[in-house]
Amino acid sequence: MIPWNFPLLMLAWKIAPALATGNTVVLKPAETTPLTALLFAQVCQQADLPPGVVNIVTGAGETGRAVVSHPGVNKVAFTGSTEVGRLIARAVAGTDKKVTLELGGKAANIVFDDAPVDQAVEGIVNGIFFNQGHVCCAGSRLLVQESVADEVLARLKRRMRTLRVGDPLDKNTDIGAINSREQLDKIRALSEIGEQEGSERWSAPCELPTRGFWFAPTIFTGVTQAHRIAREEIFGPVLSVLTFRTPKEAVEKANNTPFGLSAGIWSDKGSRILWMADQLRAGVVWANTFNKFDPTSPFGGYKESGYGREGGRHGLEGYLR
C-alpha cells in the first residue's frame, strides 16, 4: 500500500525487497496516482515475470481495507499517513500478519551559527520545498540559532523569490502542483490556523496558474512549540521557523514532537554534529545536507513515524520470517 507522493519510487521500495526474498505481491497504489504503477505492470509483462508474482489493484480506502484484512495476506507494508497507519495496525492486531509502517514526520532542520549560510539555505529549501513538501521526512521545522536567525531568514527569503512555481513538465520548474484538492485544502486550513495562532506568514511572490492546485512556497516566523503548525504534519510547501540559543535547547525542541523520522544538522563542527545526531530521536539524521536517499541504507522512524526499516539489508527483514 503506497502513497501518492513518490508513486513509482515507493512501488519499487516495496516490490523489490518483497520479490528478492521470494514473496509475491498485491500492490495498491494511491488513488490519485495510479498511472506509473499501471505502466509498471506492463514492465512486468515485458520482463516475462511469471503471472501472479506482481498484482496491482487500484482503488481508494475500501480497496486498501480489503487488501489489509484479506486472510491470505502474510505481510502488510504501508507508507502513508499516521492516521491510516493506525487503522492498519488495528486491522492486523491479533493476526499473524507482519507489518511495517512508514508514516508521518515533522523533521527539525537545525542551523547553528557556524554553519555555511548559503549551503544551509539551499538545504532548507531542498528540505521543505522538494516535491512541494509532500515528503514524509521533509524538514518542516527550521530551528535556527538566534544569533544568525535574521541573516538566515533574509537569505532564505531572497532564495525563495527565485523559486519557479508552475508547469510540472517544464524543465525549469522548481515547484509543481499540489497533488490533490483535498491536500490543498488541508495545507490552506493549517496555514490559516498558523496565522490565527499568531505566527507571521510570508509567501514568495509568484504568479500561480489559474487551473489546478497550487500553493506558493511559504514560511511562518514567530512560531512557538505550542502552535499547531509546529506540531502537525502539513505535507506541503510550508516551513515553520523556530529559534534556539544552545545545542541542548535545539535537541529539546527537535525531539518535542510525536514523530521521529528524520532531522538535519548544519554546523562546521564535527563533534557537535555527532553529539547532536546521538541525541536526536529520529531514524535518519543528515549532516550538512538534507533529503539524501541511498537504496542501500535503511530508512524508517521512531515513535508515531512508524516501525520497521526499509532499504538495504535491514529492509529485507520485514519480508522474512
Binding site: 519510487l9 521470494g22 505502466l39 507482519k98 513538465l169 509543481g176 489546478g212
Partner: protein, 158 residues
C-alpha cells in the same frame, strides 16, 4: 533584492507517453476488468482527466491474493535467490530504458516537477531494484548468508 530570472518555457514532450482512456486491474499477469466501478485520475496541474481507473472490490482483491498465492507456491518461492534476482535486474534495466516515459507520466499524474521525477524518483526506483538484487542473492541455496544468525532467511509465506 534578487528577482526571478526570466526563463523561456522548456516543456518536456508528452509525446513519449501513451495513456489509455481506461485501465483495468493487473491480476495474474493480465489486465482484467474489475467487478466494481471506476474513478478518474487527473493531472493536478491542469485538472485534466487523464484516465478512467478500475476500482477493485473485495472480490477483485480476493482474486489478486489467490493469484499471488498460486504464483508463490508454484513458481516464485521455488526459484533460488539468484534466479529471482535475474528478474529484478531485468525490471531495473527496463525501468532505466523507459525512464523518460516514466518521468513524464509521473509528473503528469502527480504534479511534481519533471526535473525531480527525471533525476530522483525514476533513477532511485531503478537503483533500488538493482541494489536489492545483490542483497537478495544472499538468500539463495548457493550462497550462505553473511551472518549465520540470519540462516532463517526464508520468506514469510506458508
Amino acid at each position: 533584492m534578487a528577482t526571478s530570472f526570466e526563463y523561456a518555457p522548456a516543456p518536456e514532450s508528452r509525446g513519449v507517453v501513451d495513456i489509455a482512456s481506461s485501465y483495468g486491474l493487473f491480476i495474474d499477469g493480465d489486465f482484467v476488468d474489475g467487478s466494481g466501478g471506476s474513478f478518474k485520475t487527473i493531472s493536478p496541474a491542469s485538472e485534466e482527466v487523464l484516465a478512467d481507473i478500475a476500482e477493485a472490490t473485495e472480490a477483485d482483491v480476493d482474486l489478486a491474493v489467490r493469484a499471488a498465492r498460486r504464483a508463490y507456491t508454484r513458481v516464485w518461492s521455488r526459484l533460488s535467490g539468484r534466479e529471482r534476482g535475474k528478474y529484478l535486474f531485468r525490471i531495473a534495466r527496463i525501468l532505466q530504458e523507459r525512464a523518460r516515459e516514466f518521468a513524464v507520466l509521473e509528473s503528469l499524474d502527480n504534479g511534481k516537477p519533471i526535473k525531480e521525477s527525471r533525476d530522483t524518483d525514476i533513477p532511485l526506483a531503478a537503483a533500488i531494484s538493482s541494489s536489492i538484487t545483490r542483497a537478495g542473492r544472499t538468500n539463495s541455496a548457493t550462497h550462505s548468508p553473511v551472518r549465520p544468525t540470519r540462516s532463517r532467511w526464508v520468506s514469510p509465506g506458508r
